[in-house]
C-alpha cells in the first residue's frame, strides 16, 4: 500500500542523502536550541522566584533536570539505533548509535557534576551512594564502555557491532535510573515534573524548565547531525561524493 515510505526511508539511509539532509536541518536545530535555551535561562535565572526552602540554589534545576532527562533519552536513542544496526545491518543506524554515545556521556557528566554542586549546599555532601546517584554513575560508565569498545577494534564495523550489543544490554539501566527514587528510599528528591499528572512545581519555575528540556532536545539533534556528518565523511572517504566535498572545501 504505502510503498513510498520504505523507499523514502531507504533513500534517507544512504550516506550522501543523509549528509545533505542533516546539513540542511542542523543550523535550524542549533538556532532553536540557542533561542529556547536563552529564553529558558532568562526565565529560570531572572524571572522565576527563589525557592522557599532552597533559596537560589534550586536554580541548578534548570540545567540539572534537562541534562538528566537527556542522558536517558540519548541512551534510549542509542539503544534503538543499536538494535536496528544489529538486526538490519544499516550503516547509518550504526553511525547514529556510535555518535550518540559521546553526547550522552556529556549530558550524564553534566548531570553528575551539577547534581554534586547542588547536593553540597542542600545535603551537606558532594556525593552519596544513593540509588539515583549510583545508577546515573553506572549510566556514565555504560556510555564510556560503548565508546571504548567501539574504538577497541581494528575494524570499525566490527567494533560498532560489539558496542551496539553492549548498548542494548545496558538499556536495562535506564528504567532503573528513572524509577530509582520510587523503588528505593533515596536522599535524592522524587520527581517534580510529571507529564501525565500534575507537576509539583509552580508555573513560574516549570515553564523555564520545560523550555530548557525542549532546547536540549534540539541541541542533541544539532550535535548528532554534526557528528554523523563528520563520521560519514571518514567512513566513506573513498567515495566520489566525499572527494567532491574535500576538493570543494580545499579552496576555502
Amino acid at each position: 500500500m504505502a510503498n513510498w515510505i520504505p523507499l523514502w526511508l531507504h533513500k534517507l539511509g544512504s550516506p550522501p542523502t543523509f549528509y545533505r539532509f542533516a546539513g540542511m536541518l542542523r543550523p535550524w536545530a542549533m538556532a532553536l536550541a540557542l533561542l529556547l535555551g536563552a529564553v529558558a535561562l532568562y526565565g529560570g535565572l531572572v524571572l522565576a522566584p527563589a525557592d522557599y526552602q532552597q533559596g537560589d540554589a534550586y536554580r541548578i534545576i534548570f540545567i540539572h533536570v534537562p541534562s538528566a532527562e537527556m542522558s536517558m533519552f540519548v541512551y534510549a536513542v542509542m539503544g534503538v539505533a543499536s538494535f536496528i544496526a544489529l538486526v538490519w545491518r544499516i550503516k547509518l543506524a550504526e553511525v547514529v548509535a556510535m555518535e550518540s554515545a559521546p553526547i550522552g556521556a556529556a549530558f550524564t557528566f553534566i548531570t553528575l557534576v551539577t547534581g554534586s554542586l547542588w547536593g553540597k549546599p542542600m545535603w551537606g555532601t558532594w556525593w552519596t551512594w544513593d540509588a539515583r546517584l549510583t545508577s546515573e554513575l553506572v549510566l556514565l560508565f555504560l556510555f564510556l564502555g560503548v565508546i571504548g569498545l567501539f574504538h577497541a577494534f581494528e575494524d570499525r564495523r566490527q567494533g560498532a557491532r560489539a558496542a551496539a550489543f553492549l548498548a542494548i544490554i545496558g538499556i536495562i539501566n535506564v528504567p532503573i535510573v528513572h524509577f530509582s527514587v520510587n523503588w528505593w528510599n533515596t536522599l535524592h528528591q522524587g520527581s517534580t515534573v510529571n507529564i501525565f499528572g500534575k507537576s509539583k512545581m509552580s508555573w513560574d519555575m516549570l515553564w523555564p524548565l520545560l523550555t530548557m528540556m525542549l532546547a536540549t532536545k534540539f541541541y542533541y539533534a544539532a550535535s548528532l547531525f554534526n557528528r554523523v556528518r563528520t563520521d560519514l565523511l571518514a567512513l566513506e572517504g573513498g567515495k566520489d561524493w566525499v572527494r567532491k566535498i574535500a576538493e570543494d572545501e580545499a579552496d576555502r
Binding site: 537560589d56 540554589a57 541548578i60 556529556a106 557534576v113 551539577t114 547542588w118 544539532a222 572527494r243 574535500a246
Partner: protein
C-alpha cells in the same frame, strides 16, 4: 532618577543577581560546566571534520602524484629504448 542613580541601582541588582542568594559558589560553576561541556561537544566534531578532509586531500594528492610519475616515466623512457 538621574543616570548615575540608575547605574547604581542596575549594578546593585546585577551584584545581587550574581550573588545568587549566597549560593553563587554552587550555581555559577554548575552553569559553567554545562556550557563548557556542550561547547566542547560542538567543537570536537568540527575539528575532526577538518582533519578528515585534510587527510583525504593529502591521500588524493599522493595518488595523483604517483599516477603522474607513472605516466611521465612511460612517455620519457620509451623513445630511448
Amino acid at each position: 532618577m538621574s543616570a548615575l542613580q540608575t547605574f547604581f541601582t542596575v549594578s546593585g541588582d546585577a551584584a545581587a543577581f550574581l550573588k545568587m542568594g549566597g549560593y553563587a559558589a554552587y550555581v555559577w560553576p554548575a552553569y559553567a560546566v554545562f556550557f563548557i561541556v556542550l561547547i566542547a561537544d560542538t567543537v570536537a566534531p568540527r575539528v575532526r571534520r577538518r582533519r578528515v578532509l585534510r587527510e583525504l586531500r593529502a591521500r588524493l594528492a599522493r595518488q595523483q602524484a604517483r599516477q603522474d610519475r607513472a605516466g611521465s616515466n612511460s612517455t620519457s623512457t620509451s623513445p630511448s629504448l
